[in-house]
Symmetry: C2
Subunit: 367 residues, 2 copies
DNA sequence: AAGCCATCTGTAAACGTTTACTGAGTTGGC
DNA sequence: GCCAACTCAGTAAACGTTTACAGATGGCTT
């Protein structure tokens, strides 16, 4: 792995100055003969432009960072899936940070923008503290925040609307005749937990249903927490006829416990999840879920960022992505039609002619 | 966003030379008084060290890239989940590339190592062509390949053993008394497709079962392909009693179609998936699946890479991760015990005292 | 034929660090 | 009290680019 060639090496080889080499490589007007010599030399030497030196001089890295709480969370992954191709098309690389929802880590990331290893940042913090806002104000590169931020904060911002989302779900359950609707929520000191709790209370009121503390159970956002919470709920209020779950994982835990308890879904208890992750369509019964538009939020965020990288001076914008209720069997009782046509068999499939993008696994026979 | 301070600014402010500033910031021996002055100035100015300039001089970026075929694929995500924290702990940032399994893109990534924007690369190519190997040989930074690579290739390599994996699955099905075991495979020109096809044929032979072309169906690696393939299989061979699916998504499609056709799983047809993604545990019936150890492979890869970054001269290593059969209801008929204890309700959960790491969703009430 | 202009190329500085080298000042040995 | 040795700090070069500026060359115009 000997040291690679630089423009100096090329300049020598081609018998020109490094300025000429640079000009040719950047497509600036140059005499044909010079272009030919430089390109020939570069080709022979297998020259590749050093991105670090280039960044130092040009003050751009063509890298963008995305910081999320948990890299294993399907919600963030839906965002990454949108963000990556857009960045790639615009000539940027994607740097990933997983902060484990630790505020100090998030602030570190903001602070490290001063290192100038990226041109911009998309961040999705779980909680937004004063310290976040302070650091944000002093950030040395454009930032887009996915999630709520106090009004008046001068930053590009993309929000979901889980208030309306919860409302959609409760309206749906109410229309189905459900009247004892429990809430299985996550921790109240997280942004989603707090707002979903409040939205639940509000929606009940508007529907003319009484708010009952006994119908609310709080745990963390995982499947096991959902299972535990629902077991407790069933013991306390055996007559519940619907469950509003603060995310899909909680809802899956709920399905586990309901099945074990012999309750039919949705006949006895209807279940609604939230986030509409791919798990919702995979479960059985398939899960009605409120999509908060993770994909759309990711897309909006990256677009805001790219736009700002072009025009750093424009006013900050706020984009709110509307929620959408995706009805499946856990409330309707009917499995949705399979999302594909069985009659059309892939032509030539037996010949192995499939175009073969994405396969689901890497591997290697042991030999 | 005015230009940030540099060591020059600090040097002026502190009344010392830039060399002293650099020494202080790097912890090299310096007089107390100087240290104090420099740190004070740095603090006041909110100095953050420029990573690009530092990289240029030191010839290391503290970045590592991971290139995968498809960022949406749970198999790669399982790897990323392992890789990211290890890198972070070692002081490296993670750069993600999604190549859409396009060979040219993969080769581009290898080639771009010459830009020196990362110190090393972990790559998981779907197909390995001559061109890959050529470029690999000339790569300007350490590379670890996840997936098969021809014997003798001088590169750190992590492999799954899908051959043994398929074997485990077929042994299991055979032991359950199944004799007409179909294969739903992916494209034969991918590494996984090819080797799973071969392993299926081999395993049948060792089990003394006849190989029958009519029992093999090929599509792509998605749920819809699985559904289509199984519909065709059922039409052609109504008497099949087991399905070996080349990945979990295909298996989910299979479950859809079997259910629609009124076949009971596993009584009439047993189903085995592959990769043991989180979808396998979420489906109903839950899916027996062959784990190829994606997480372990990710971990092994990043460890190989970090090791090589320390000692560039050591011999290339090969790590093979053994497969594991995870038996669930789609073959055994019994839902596995819930992986959590329902009796222990989270203490204090109602008080919202949960530590609240990872929540499943970002959001923001519309106001 | 002189002067001008256009076109191209080379020189050198700059981006923000790290670090080899040198020299100044201090300490200590004898 | 002189010289050696040591400690610390400053100067300057280097990392590999881009680019402002100036110089060179040649073709036109007049």
């Amino acid at each position: 792995m000997a040291d690679g060639p630089t423009i100096n090496t090329i300049a020598e080889r081609a018998g020109v100055s490094i300025a000429s080499v640079s000009r040719v490589l950047n497509g600036l007007p140059t005499r044909q003969e010079t272009i030919r010599k430089v390109l020939a030399a570069a080709e022979e030497l297998g020259y590749v432009r050093n991105a670090v030196a280039r960044s130092l001089k040009s003050r751009r890295t063509n890298q963008v960072a995305f910081a999320m709480a948990d890299i294993g969370n399907p919600v963030y992954l839906a965002m990454v899936r949108q963000i990556q191709p857009v960045l790639k098309a615009a000539g940027y690389r994607l740097v990933l940070h997983s902060t484990d929802a630790i505020a100090a880590d998030e602030i570190d990331v903001l602070h490290s923008l001063g290192e100038r290893y990226v041109d911009g940042l998309i961040m999705s913090p779980l909680r937004v503290t004063e310290a976040h806002l302070e650091t944000l104000k002093a950030a040395r590169a454009p930032v887009v925040i996915i999630g709520s931020v106090p009004d008046g904060t001068r930053v590009d911002n993309v929000r979901a609307d889980s208030r309306t989302g919860v409302r959609l779900a409760l309206d749906h359950l109410h229309a189905l005749g459900r009247r004892r609707i429990a809430l299985v929520n996550g921790p109240l000191d997280t942004v989603p937990g707090a707002s979903r709790g409040a939205a639940y209370a509000e929606a009940l009121e508007e529907l003319g249903l009484p708010y009952d503390d006994g119908l609310v159970e709080i745990g963390d956002f995982y499947r096991a927490d959902g299972a535990r919470a629902v077991a407790a709920l069933l013991a306390r209020r055996p007559d519940i006829d619907a469950l509003m779950c603060a995310n899909d994982l909680i809802a899956l835990g709920a399905l586990d416990v309901l099945r074990a308890a012999g309750r039919r879904v949705p006949e006895d208890v209807a279940v609604v999840g939230m986030d509409d992750t791919e798990l919702a369509a995979a479960s059985y019964p398939s899960l009605t879920s409120v999509s908060l538009g993770s994909a759309e939020r990711g897309k909006a965020a990256v677009e805001l960022l790219l736009d700002r990288l072009q025009r750093g001076d424009r006013e900050p914008r706020l984009v709110t992505v509307p929620p959408r209720l995706v009805v499946r069997a856990s409330t309707s009782g009917e499995e949705p039609a399979l999302p594909y046509d069985l009659t059309t068999n892939t032509p030539g499939a037996l010949a192995g002619a499939a175009p073969g993008h994405q396969s689901s696994a890497q591997e290697g026979g042991a030999g």
